[in-house]
C-alpha cells in the first residue's frame, strides 16, 4: 500500500524521446501539504515529469504514485484529485474568464452554487473580479496564469501541478501568485511547481534540481546551500567580467559564475583561497573592491552541480 503521507512518490522514472532521454531514472518524494519545486534549465525534463505526474504521459520505465494512485498503471484514477496547469496556456482563449471557469467546474461536477462562491472568492483573491466577462485570449500574461490557477482551484484538488506558472508574469502578479500558493499549502494542498528561475526555487519548501533528465539534488533550499562542497567566495569588482578569465583556472577554483558585478568562485577552502586570490589580483594590478566568503545561492549551487557533472 502506498504511504498516505506522501503526495507523490516517483521512483526510477525514465522517458525517452529518441535520441533524447528526457527523464533519466528520476526519483523523489513530495509530502502532503508541501510546496515542491522542480528546478532546472530548459530541456531539463521538468515538463515531461509534470506530464507523467498528471497522468497525461506514460513513462518508459519506473513508477509514479500520486495521491495514492499509480499513474503508470491507471492514469485516470488520479485525475479526480489533481489539477494540472500546463506550461503552455491550456484554457480556451475564445471563451471568457467565467465560461472557462464554468467549463472546468462542470468537468469536476461542481454545483452551480459552489462554483459561483468559489469563483467570486478566487477572482477577488487575484484581483480579477472585474474581468469575468473578458475573453481569456485578451488577458495579459500574468492574468492568464492567474485564471489558470483559478480554474485549477475551482474544485479542491489534493495536488496542484504547475508547470512554470510564473513564466512571463510581472513581479507584482508573481507575488500575488505565490501568496495564493502559500495559502493553499497552509490548507493542506500539495503543490508541485516547476521553474527555470532559481529565485523562484528559493520560495519552495523543497526543491529538486534537474539537469538533462537527472536529479542533481533534492532538499530544502537552505540545506542545499549548506551541502555545497567547499565554499563560495565573491570577488566584487567593476571589471568582474574581465577577471573571469583570470580566475577560472586558478588553483582550487571549481567553477566561476558572473552575477552582476560580482564573480562567484567555487573553491575547495575559503580560508586558504581568499588571500591567494587577493594576492594574485594585486600582483597583476587588477582592480577589485573586495574578496569575501558568501552564503551560496541556489544559482551558485546549480552551476556548481552542473559543472561537476560535465568536467571539461
Amino acid at each position: 500500500m502506498p504511504d498516505e503521507s506522501w503526495a507523490v512518490v516517483v521512483e526510477g522514472l525514465v522517458k525517452d524521446f529518441p535520441p533524447v532521454r528526457a527523464v533519466d531514472h528520476l526519483s523523489f518524494r513530495v509530502s502532503a501539504g508541501e510546496i515542491f519545486g522542480l528546478v532546472g534549465p530548459d530541456g531539463a525534463g521538468k515538463t515531461t515529469t509534470m506530464r507523467v505526474l498528471a497522468g497525461v504521459m506514460a513513462p518508459d520505465e519506473g513508477s509514479a504514485v500520486v495521491c495514492g494512485c499509480d499513474v503508470v498503471r491507471d492514469p485516470e484514477a488520479v485525475k479526480q484529485h489533481i489539477s494540472y496547469m500546463p506550461q503552455r496556456f491550456g484554457l480556451y482563449e475564445d471563451l471568457t474568464v467565467s465560461e472557462n471557469i464554468r467549463f472546468y467546474a462542470d468537468l469536476f461536477g461542481i454545483s452551480r452554487r459552489q462554483r459561483e462562491q468559489a469563483a467570486a472568492r478566487l477572482l477577488a483573491a487575484c484581483g480579477m473580479s472585474e474581468f469575468s466577462g473578458r475573453l481569456a485570449g485578451k488577458l495579459s500574461g500574468g492574468m492568464k496564469q492567474k485564471l489558470g490557477l483559478v480554474c485549477a482551484l475551482i474544485h479542491t484538488p489534493r495536488l496542484l501541478l504547475l508547470d512554470e506558472p510564473t513564466n512571463g508574469v510581472d513581479p507584482l502578479s508573481r507575488r500575488e501568485f505565490w501568496a495564493m500558493l502559500y495559502e493553499l499549502a497552509a490548507q493542506g494542498v500539495t503543490i508541485v511547481n516547476s521553474t527555470a528561475y532559481l529565485d523562484e526555487a528559493e520560495r519552495c519548501h523543497r526543491v529538486a534540481l534537474m539537469h538533462r533528465g537527472r536529479l542533481l539534488f533534492c532538499d530544502q533550499p537552505q540545506r542545499l546551500k549548506q551541502r555545497l562542497p567547499g565554499a563560495v567566495i565573491a570577488v566584487v569588482s567593476p571589471i568582474a567580467a574581465r577577471l573571469r578569465e583570470e580566475l577560472a583556472h586558478a588553483d582550487g577554483v571549481h567553477s566561476v559564475l558572473l552575477i552582476g558585478d560580482a564573480l562567484h568562485l567555487f573553491v575547495d577552502d575559503a580560508a586558504r583561497r581568499i588571500p591567494q586570490i587577493s594576492r594574485a589580483l594585486d600582483a597583476k594590478g587588477l582592480f577589485y573592491d573586495e574578496v569575501v566568503r558568501i552564503t551560496p545561492t541556489i544559482e551558485d549551487l546549480f552551476v556548481n552541480a552542473v559543472t561537476a557533472q560535465e568536467p571539461h
Binding site: A54, V56, R88, G90, D94, D106, F108
Partner: protein, 377 residues
C-alpha cells in the same frame, strides 16, 4: 458516460462555434456553394437544343416521330431540311447541334414488323453535351419505338415479332429524361459526406494544436464524453446543412419530392452521425489540423465520389471495388435519397440501407472513442 461533463463539452464547443462566426458562415454556406457548383457542373440539362430534321419519307408515322422530338423542351426545331446536304451544312455550321434523318420506307418497314433505323447527326465538339443529346435522342426514339410496338401488338397480337426502331433504347436517365433528378441526390450525399467529416475532423486536432487538449485530458473527462459532447453542436449544424441541401434540390434543381420529410430527416440524421463520427476518428488519429483535413478529404470525398454510385454505376465496377462500396455509407444514403425524393418510398422498405448506415456510424464511433487517447506521446 457522465452527462454533466458531456453537456459541458457541448456547451463549450457551441460557444466556440458561435464566436467564430466567419467559419460558421462558411460552414452554413458551404452546401449552397457545393450544391450549385457540383449540381451545375454535372447535372445541368440541355434544353432547346437546336434541331434540324430531314424527313425522307414524309409519312404520317415519320411526322409523328419528328413531332415527338419537338414536343418536349429538350429540342427546338430550327430547320426542316430539303435534302441531306442542307442538314449536314446546318450541323457543321453550328446552326443546329443535332440533325435527325428519317429514312425512306420508314413506315413501311415498321408496319411490316421489320426494324428501321433513324439516323442522328450530332455536333460533338463538346463531348458532355453530345453525350447528353445522344441520351435525349435515344430516349425519344425509344419511347416512340415502344409506342409503335404496343400499337403493332394490339393490332397483330403478341405472338408475332414486333418491329423496333434503330437507336437502341438505353436510357441513361430516368423516366422523365431529367438527368438532374438522378444526379442531384448523389450530389447531396457527396456534399453531406464532405461537410460532415470536415466539421468534426478538425476539432480534436485543433485542441492538440492550441494546447488546450493537454489540460482537458488531465481532467476526469472520458473519450466518449468528449466525442459525444462535441458531436451535439456539429450535429445541429450538419442537419441545417442537410435541410439546405434538400431545399436546394427541391426548389432550385426542381427535383420532385414525393416522400416524407420524416424519412428524409431520420435517414439524414443517421448518415450525418456516421460522417461526423468519421471526422472524429480522423481527428483523434491526427495531431495536426493539416493532417486531419487531408485525411478527411481522402476518406470522404474520394470514396463518396467514386464509390457511392454517383459518378460510376456500382454494377459496372469490379467485384472487389463493389465490395468496398458496401462499407461507405454515402452509397446507402444516395439509395435512400433517390427513393425518398423520386419514388416517395416510406421508411420501412429502407430499413436495410438505414441499418447499414447505422452500423457504419456505430463502428466509426467505437473507433473514434478507442482512437482518442488521453495521453500525449
Amino acid at each position: 458516460m457522465n452527462w454533466r461533463r458531456m453537456l459541458a463539452l457541448a456547451r463549450k464547443e457551441s460557444i466556440q462555434i458561435r464566436r467564430d462566426w466567419r467559419s460558421l458562415a462558411v460552414v452554413l454556406l458551404m452546401p449552397v456553394m457545393l450544391m450549385t457548383l457540383m449540381g451545375y457542373g454535372i447535372a445541368l440539362d440541355q434544353t432547346d437544343v437546336p434541331l434540324c430534321v430531314y424527313d425522307r419519307e414524309g409519312s404520317q408515322l415519320s411526322q409523328d416521330l419528328l413531332k415527338s422530338f419537338v414536343s418536349n423542351r429538350y429540342f427546338s426545331l430550327k430547320l426542316d431540311a430539303r435534302d441531306y446536304r442542307q442538314l449536314v451544312t446546318a450541323v457543321d455550321g453550328g446552326v443546329c447541334t443535332v440533325g435527325v434523318v428519317v429514312p425512306l420506307y420508314f413506315s413501311k418497314l415498321l408496319n411490316a414488323g421489320r426494324p428501321a433505323t433513324v439516323q442522328a447527326v450530332i455536333d460533338a465538339t463538346d463531348n458532355n453535351t453530345a453525350n447528353l443529346i445522344i441520351g435525349y435522342t435515344q430516349a425519344v426514339v425509344a419511347r416512340f419505338s415502344a409506342a409503335v410496338q404496343l400499337d403493332y401488338q394490339q393490332r397483330r397480337g403478341p405472338a408475332l415479332g414486333a418491329p423496333s426502331l434503330g437507336l437502341q433504347a438505353r436510357t441513361w436517365f430516368n423516366e422523365d429524361l431529367e438527368s438532374r433528378n438522378f444526379i442531384v441526390p448523389g450530389v447531396v450525399a457527396l456534399v453531406m459526406a464532405v461537410i460532415g467529416t470536415f466539421l468534426t475532423s478538425l476539432t480534436i486536432a485543433r485542441e492538440w494544436e492550441r494546447g488546450t487538449m493537454e489540460q482537458l485530458v488531465s481532467t476526469p473527462v472520458t473519450a466518449a464524453e468528449v466525442i459525444a459532447g462535441k458531436l451535439i453542436p456539429y450535429f445541429v449544424i450538419g442537419m441545417t446543412d442537410a435541410a439546405t441541401c434538400a431545399a436546394i434540390s427541391g426548389w432550385w434543381f426542381e427535383v420532385p419530392f414525393r416522400g416524407s420529410v420524416m424519412t428524409l430527416f431520420v435517414s439524414s440524421a443517421v448518415f450525418l452521425i456516421g460522417v461526423l463520427l468519421l471526422g472524429f476518428l480522423i481527428s483523434a488519429l491526427s495531431r495536426t489540423q493539416l493532417a486531419a483535413s487531408q485525411f478527411a478529404l481522402l476518406t470522404t470525398f474520394l470514396p463518396a465520389f467514386l464509390l457511392s454510385g454517383f459518378a460510376f454505376p456500382i454494377d459496372q465496377m469490379p467485384i472487389a471495388v463493389r465490395a468496398v462500396t458496401r462499407i461507405f455509407p454515402a452509397r446507402y444514403y444516395v439509395t435512400i435519397l433517390k427513393a425518398v425524393f423520386l419514388k416517395g418510398t416510406g421508411i420501412e422498405p429502407l430499413f436495410a440501407p438505414m441499418l447499414a448506415m447505422a452500423l457504419f456510424a456505430a463502428a466509426v464511433g467505437v473507433g473514434a472513442v478507442r482512437g482518442f487517447k488521453k495521453t500525449l506521446d
